[in-house]
């Protein structure tokens, strides 16, 4: 069966983009990816758009993006699994190539989150949980991860300082990423002085909403080898779910969906966690990155706190994690995030990450979570 290669990479600047519509944001990423691929637009067989519809005024987003990209009358469709919508788009594009239906597919993750006012955002925030039994008590997205953090601290002794270490690392690298929302390093004092959101979280434990887009162009092996001297391969593709309700999660110190998706991705790629040199993981909150280290096997369950405190996830450590700034500093335009992760890891494997380049990066991983873990996608990327 054909391998699926990444032949084009594009990424817009994440941030408050009051200068552009969502389709204009999508086009920025698409144009860069097409220039990178160096192919004619007519060779694109289909597009898959990853986005979460409720943030946009425009309904049925795929159609307006497809038109703006100039890809009509080729097929397009939208994938939605909350914050993992971008990885779902990549997965369905990959499936369509694996199935022999398409040769070249453009995947665009895009999201404009600042179209909504604060009141609309707060109303949406009240419905992130399971609405029948949980939302009636005023649960929030940070609130759920805060409860994971409290439990993680209780079971393993994870500390407030270790949460802070995640934020400091990701802002340190975000400062080097010209595509990031926040490009400034932060201090422990700055984190400590920030306002409470949901204990133990303060503002600097939480990623920020943003506008933005990213694009990857995928191709079947023969096409990838024809147009690219060194394609990066989607070698392991894992995907799993966990219950929506925390009332039906036996363990609250990790995401069972992430463990399952990682195991699938490693098995398909024929590697283990030890082979991974660089990773982008879903750090929507600081505890989420610590749990991700454990769930994908970079360290044992419960050891994620000391792992970051010992700088094992900085460049030069055991495995470099979120050296593009992560969701935390790069910003989190939810539909774009999964595609942005694949973009970053493919750049790393090509050796094109500039001052953030991880030496000898030959195997990389992405870990993209939807909601509070009800969806997780893990990809293993390799080069020949």
């Amino acid at each position: 069966m054909t391998r699926v290669g990444i032949i084009g990479l594009g990424h817009g600047v994440f941030g408050r983009r009051s200068d552009a519509t969502v389709q204009e944001l999508a086009f920025e990423a698409f144009r860069e990816a097409m220039e990178d691929a160096g192919i004619e637009r007519s060779r694109i067989d289909a597009s898959v758009i990853g986005a979460v519809p409720e943030y946009h005024k425009q309904r049925s987003l795929a159609g307006v993006v497809q038109e703006y990209l100039g890809l009509v009358p080729k097929p397009t469709w939208l994938t939605e699994v909350a914050c993992a919508s971008g990885s779902a788009a990549i997965r369905t594009a990959w499936l369509s190539i694996k199935a022999g239906v398409h040769d070249v597919v453009a995947v665009v993750g895009c999201q404009k989150m600042t179209e909504l006012g604060t009141a609309e955002i707060l109303a949406l925030m009240g419905r992130v949980g399971e609405v029948q039994w949980e939302s009636g008590f005023g649960t929030t997205f940070p609130g759920y991860y805060a409860m994971f953090a409290k439990r993680h601290m209780h079971e393993f002794g994870t500390t407030r300082d270790q949460l802070t270490d995640v934020a400091i690392k990701n802002h340190f690298y975000g400062a080097m990423n010209p595509k990031a929302l926040f490009r400034k390093a932060i201090t422990k004092e700055k984190v400590a002085a920030s306002e409470d959101v949901a204990t133990p979280f303060q503002v600097y434990d939480c990623c920020a909403n943003a506008d933005g887009a990213a694009c990857v162009i995928l191709a079947r092996e023969a096409v990838a080898k024809e147009v690219s001297s060194a394609p990066v391969w989607l070698s392991g593709m894992g995907c799993a779910t966990a219950s929506m309700s925390v009332l039906r999660r036996p363990s609250l110190v990790g995401l069972p969906s992430a463990e399952a998706a990682a195991a699938q991705a490693y098995a398909m790629a024929g590697i283990t966690a030890k082979d991974v040199k660089v990773a982008d993981v879903h750090d929507c909150f600081t505890i989420a990155e610590i749990m991700a280290y454990e769930d994908v096997g970079f360290c044992k369950k419960g050891e994620g706190g000391p792992f970051v405190a010992d700088r094992q996830t900085y460049i030069g450590g055991t495995v470099a994690v979120n050296v593009d700034g992560g969701l935390k500093a790069k910003g989190h335009p939810i539909g774009a995030t999964g595609v942005s992760m694949t973009y970053e890891i493919a750049k790393q494997l090509r050796g094109e990450a500039g001052e953030r380049q991880v030496p000898d990066a030959d195997v990389g991983l992405t870990h993209n979570v939807g909601g509070i873990g009800q969806y997780c996608f893990v990809q293993v990327l390799t080069r020949d």
Binding site: G138, M147, R151, D196, T199
Partner: protein, 150 residues
């Protein structure tokens, strides 16, 4: 009557709507599958184990252990005026779990994972419309069931 459940209710219609009526009468009800006997709290009309849709309500004690908690400071729409508030997840002794506010019998400084708590039916009394919910309280906290199943 499920529109009664919760300070804000997003799901007025459900096959387990009688849960809210029982709660108003001071009773905590889970579900039991009439086909295979599997139980659930919160109640669920359709059985996880055998897929049967034939269920009955069964009363649960509400006793349990606190699994985790947080104090929500940044509140969503509908909760601005009560923020900050503490919410917790309770592992019920009879099986299942509940997510609820920590009540006034549990001072904030005393909240600790692993503590024994009691899920207690409540009615929001400051409102004209009926709003029922439950809180996590010290074991031994009593509540009225005087309304009976009227």
């Amino acid at each position: 009557m499920f529109k009664w459940f919760g300070r804000v209710n997003y799901t007025p219609y459900t096959k387990v709507s009688d849960f809210a009526r029982h709660l108003k009468n001071g009773r905590l009800m889970g579900s039991r599958c009439r086909h295979c006997g599997a139980t659930s709290f919160p109640p669920k009309a359709d059985c996880d184990a055998c897929m049967s849709g034939d269920f009955e309500f069964v009363e649960v004690s509400g006793a349990g252990t606190l699994v985790t908690f947080t104090k929500i400071v940044a509140a969503p729409t509908g909760f601005e005026d009560v923020a900050p508030y503490n919410i917790g997840v309770l592992d019920l002794a009879d099986g299942g779990r509940a997510l609820a506010w920590l009540g006034e019998t549990v001072p904030e400084a005393d909240i600790a994972i692993g503590m024994e708590l009691q899920l207690v039916p409540r009615i929001l009394e400051e409102l004209e419309e009926i709003k029922v919910y439950y809180t996590l309280e010290r074991p031994g906290t009593t509540w009225s069931t005087a309304a009976a199943d009227a």
